[in-house]
């Protein structure tokens, strides 16, 4: 194998390539087993989504037969005030959840990375708990908590009435942020921090000038994670939402109980598009920042 690789190296000038030469030893992508796997994965991952999107343009009320193209369902969805309200609620919750999760997550990550203190293992374990505990349990726990221990005052003006849901979302989203940021921190060169201090920076300046720039990719990834986790969470929200604090996934679920209309498809398509756009923006920002560094 090795000999073959050596002799097949270009000798002088450009090697003469046959139209379809044999795949090399590491050219897995040019062999059928991997191609099949990749193909199957793509089909099962994206075909359902594509079906959903396609049928949102269907004139039929039912999602099984294609009758003709229409955008009526989108118009209908946009005229559905309660659906719009739910959508707005979801975005608001996700927004606040992201901000607080990132702050809390960063603080937790830095604390666990930096300090040694009694009970550190316990804290680390309890941080992972919201990630491993089944969502349904968390949901019930939140329900009990907000019903008995700390009832969220009723009849607060928007968006304060979303407080209970926001708190619930933060509690399961920030450990994800902390995990991502912590992983990023492990590659931090401690000497950078010492260098900044050696050059006269205070503790606080060192944090902003050296640690935060290093954490940045983790911050963006964590924020995206928190945002999408919050936006599409159903189970926990379902248990904490009141009658006037419906979120988008909960609303879609309640619509489904009556009938699966293409209106739901349309609304879901909008959500998918929003999520994809936000993710793309986030990645773009990250790319630009790293390109700026290189320039």
């Amino acid at each position: 194998m090795a000999d073959e690789a050596l002799t097949s190296m270009p000798k002088v000038g450009r090697p003469r390539r046959e139209k379809r030469d044999k795949p090399g030893p590491l050219d897995y992508m040019r062999r059928w087993p991997l191609q099949l796997m990749v193909g199957a994965t793509l089909v099962f991952l994206y075909l359902p989504l594509i079906t959903l999107m396609v049928f949102s343009f269907n004139t039929s009320r039912r999602n099984v037969v294609w009758q003709g193209f229409t955008t009526d369902w989108y118009v209908k969805a946009f005229n559905n005030d309660s659906l719009l309200q739910a959508f707005l609620n979801s975005l608001t919750i996700a927004f606040f959840c992201t901000i607080f999760s990132v702050i809390l997550g960063v603080l937790a990550a830095v604390m666990l990375w930096r300090f040694r203190f009694p009970g550190k293992t316990a804290v680390e374990g309890s941080m992972a708990l919201p990630i491993v505990v089944p969502e349904i349990c968390l949901g019930v726990a939140m329900l009990v908590f907000f019903a008995r221990v700390m009832p969220w005052p009723m009849g607060m003006p928007w968006p304060l009435n979303l407080g209970a849901i926001i708190i619930a979302h933060i509690s399961f989203a920030f450990p994800f942020v902390a995990t991502v940021v912590r992983a990023r921190l492990s590659s931090f060169n401690r000497e950078l921090e010492e260098a900044a201090k050696d050059l006269g920076a205070s503790e606080w300046r060192t944090f902003w000038d050296v640690l935060v720039p290093h954490m940045q990719p983790g911050l963006i990834a964590g924020a995206l994670l928190a945002f999408t986790l919050s936006l599409d969470d159903f189970v926990i929200t379902f248990f904490t939402a009141g009658p006037d604090t419906i979120t988008f996934p909960v609303k879609v679920y309640s619509m489904l109980r009556f009938s699966v209309t293409p209106e739901v498809n349309a609304a879901s398509t909008v959500l998918i598009v929003v999520t994809v756009i936000l993710t793309a923006i986030g990645l773009q920002v990250q790319n630009n920042l790293s390109k700026e560094k290189k320039a």
């Binding site: 060169n189 000497e191 950078l192 010492e194 260098a195 900044a196 201090k197 050696d198 050059l199 006269g200 920076a201 205070s202 300046r205 000038d209 050296v210 720039p213 290093h214 560094k293 290189k294 320039a295």
Partner: protein, 389 residues
């Protein structure tokens, strides 16, 4: 000749006046039960290029970090310019450091890296710009201020770290293993550049290194540390030629060490009998040890001469030693050709192997020593160092 052997401390160190910029007074540092630095007292003079030399884990880096403010001594005082710095955090000390990894901020341009310390000091923008350019010129990086660190080579990154520390005009510059991350060619070049840089800026440099070649080549004075204890403080030449202990003799350079008994110790001659050497070791100076006590003879490989030996011939005589002394027979067992010199390993009668180096003075060796050839090993009466500890 009498006190040539006596310890280097007794000899005056010519260029050093007591003008100490740094004083370590009875410094002890413990990490839990581990003693990293053990009762070190050391003065470093203004304008010196001082090297802290020792194997890894000997406490040299801890000592340096105490100076920078990243560690606090468990006991004792650190004085910079006569002032106790115990209460000063790293960002308030008049010292700057070049880190082993260089620690150049990866997300800042070269100019911003160099200007960072000035910005922290509240120097105004125009002044920063001017001084950054000056500093970059000093380390021969002029024109690269707009580059990002990942566009620089390792050697250039180190220069950035140097400029960044020097631009603050510290009283003392600390260097933590400054050359260890560079490749061999670049290391040689940086060595001489570091010395000329230090001469140019006139700042006291303190370097930590485990590489004795580096310390000997760069430093004006070295301190050898071993297990937290300061073993010897001396100029590079004294360290090499007049080591005060087996550890220093062995750590600095290459050495053949023989255990022996002091047979004679007069004002201007001494003799040691070593079990592994068939002839006595004769010295042309006294060694101030008790007669009959155990001593160690350290013989540097380049100070041993090698001569052809015909089977059954009488031993040659060294002109500065009595007949039979300082000459032992052996057989060449190993030859390592290194270009500028050749290293030989010679097996003595008792089986002990001795290293000896010969410079390759001509393009082919007239004597043509070869494997398994019988030879005489001989040395002058002033060559061996006798160590009491």
């Amino acid at each position: 000749m009498t006190d040539a052997q006596t310890s280097a401390q007794a000899r005056p160190t010519p260029h050093v006046k007591d003008n100490a910029i740094i004083r370590f007074e009875n410094i002890t540092k413990r990490f839990g039960k581990m003693v990293a630095v053990d009762n070190v007292t050391l003065n470093i003079q203004e304008g010196e290029f001082f090297a802290l030399l020792g194997p890894s884990g000997c406490g040299k880096t801890t000592l340096l970090r105490m100076l920078a403010g990243f560690e606090t001594p468990t006991e004792g005082r650190v004085l910079i310019d006569g002032k106790d710095v115990a209460a000063l955090p790293p960002n308030k000390r008049p010292v700057n450091m070049v880190f082993q990894s260089y620690a150049v901020f990866p997300h800042m341009k070269v100019a911003d890296n160099v200007g960072y310390g000035l910005k922290m000091d509240g120097v105004d923008g125009g002044e920063i710009k001017r001084r950054v350019e000056e500093a970059l010129e000093l380390v021969k990086l002029d024109g690269l201020g707009a580059r990002m660190p990942d566009q620089l080579s390792g050697g250039q990154r180190q220069r950035v770290a140097l400029a960044r520390a020097l631009v603050k005009r510290p009283r003392v510059l600390l260097l933590d293993e400054p050359l260890s991350a560079l490749d061999a060619k670049l290391r040689d070049q940086m060595r001489s550049e570091l010395t000329s840089l230090q001469e140019k800026v006139g700042i006291t440099f303190i370097m930590v290194t485990h590489d004795q070649d580096e310390a000997l080549a760069i430093a004006t004075r070295c301190a050898v540390m071993h297990r937290g204890v300061l073993t010897q403080v001396a100029t590079p030449a004294d360290l090499y030629e007049f080591p005060n202990s087996r550890f220093v003799a062995d750590f600095v350079g290459s050495v053949n060490m023989f255990e022996g008994v002091l047979e004679k110790d007069e004002q201007n001659e001494a003799q040691v009998r070593c079990k592994e050497l068939s002839a006595p070791v004769y010295l042309d100076h006294g060694v101030t040890g008790a007669r009959g006590s155990t001593v160690w003879v350290a013989l540097r490989p380049e100070k041993i001469e090698m001569h052809k030996r015909a089977e059954g011939s009488t031993p040659m005589k060294m002109e500065d030693a009595p007949a039979g002394a300082n000459v032992v027979p052996g057989i060449i067992r190993d030859i390592v050709y290194l270009g500028s010199e050749t290293n030989f390993e010679v097996e003595l009668e008792g089986g002990r192997r001795v290293k000896t180096f010969r410079s390759n003075l001509t393009r082919y060796d007239q004597e043509d020593f070869t494997w398994d050839e019988p030879v005489w090993l001989a040395w002058h009466a002033c060559s061996p160092a006798v160590l009491l500890s």
